[in-house]
């Protein structure tokens, strides 16, 4: 596990979530996942290339997705996973990864990111090949957790 890969994601996700939603998070225990790993109801997938070859999935329940989207839209009530709600949480993830890329850049690690893909469903499983999977749980005050799973190929 490359420790220097983890801190930019922690820093970026906590600051971007607070800045865009006003919600604060605590980092839970970071651990290595085995493949296949499970996703929650809503998963945002962003590819990473450059010095790190892999992807990030952000995985959360529908209820947390709606809370986050509502906060991003100035408190407007959000009950359903419509296209704007999914787009809001995809954009949150895009900003987290963009911010992380900037932190990496300042540490002389250059990465590029893909546009986000949003997946919704039940019982999703992810099977990246020959990759390390590091899970960074982000715990919200409401008791719900968003999992940021960083998947990358070891050199």
């Amino acid at each position: 596990m490359k420790v220097e890969y983890i801190n930019p994601f922690i820093e970026a996700s906590q600051s971007i979530i607070t800045e865009t939603t006003g919600l604060s998070t605590k980092v839970g225990k970071i651990y290595i996942k085995n493949t296949p790993f499970k996703g929650n109801n809503v998963v945002v997938l962003i590819g990473i290339t450059g010095s790190i070859q892999g992807s990030v999935t952000l995985s959360l329940k529908k209820t947390l997705t709606c809370k986050i989207a509502s906060a991003m839209m100035g408190g407007m009530p959000v009950e359903e996973l419509d296209e704007i709600t999914k787009s809001a949480v995809a954009e949150l993830c895009n900003m987290i990864l963009g911010n992380a890329a900037n932190i990496f850049y300042k540490n002389n690690i250059s990465i590029d990111i893909s546009p986000p893909t949003v997946l919704t469903g039940e019982n999703m499983q992810f099977s990246p090949s020959k990759s390390v999977i590091i899970c960074i749980p982000l715990e919200f005050d409401c008791g719900e957790t968003m999992e940021l799973d960083l998947t990358y190929k070891e050199n």
Binding site: I16, E19, T20, A69, M72, E83, I84, S87, A88, A90, E91, N94, M95, L97, G98, N99, A101, N102, Y105, S110, I113, S114, P115, P116
Partner: protein, 117 residues
Amino acid sequence: MKKVLVVDDAAFMRLSLRTILQRNGYEVIGEAANGSEAVNKYFDLKPDIVTMDITMPEMDGVEALTEIKKKDPSAKVIMISALGQESWVKKAIIYGASGFVVKPYKEDHIIQTLNKL
């Protein structure tokens, strides 16, 4: 009223920017969800200003900026992106962007940046 073309692959971002711009006296005359659509709409609609995301499918925002500036060197394109590294900002300015705003943005900053054009 200045006319703006809003380009971003996220529907949420296009809605957010549209709301901010209309609230501040700008007219949003069109939207595009990728760079290729942005280039086509630019020459169809002839906006005064374009707000351009970078990370998009099909054609990214810097490529779209380049294509627009090739045919219209006077085009005013403001990049609005989550990628705020110096390398991206330099690249965008070299290819002719009139400004660069890093997401997440504050409404005041967007409007001040557009007002300067």
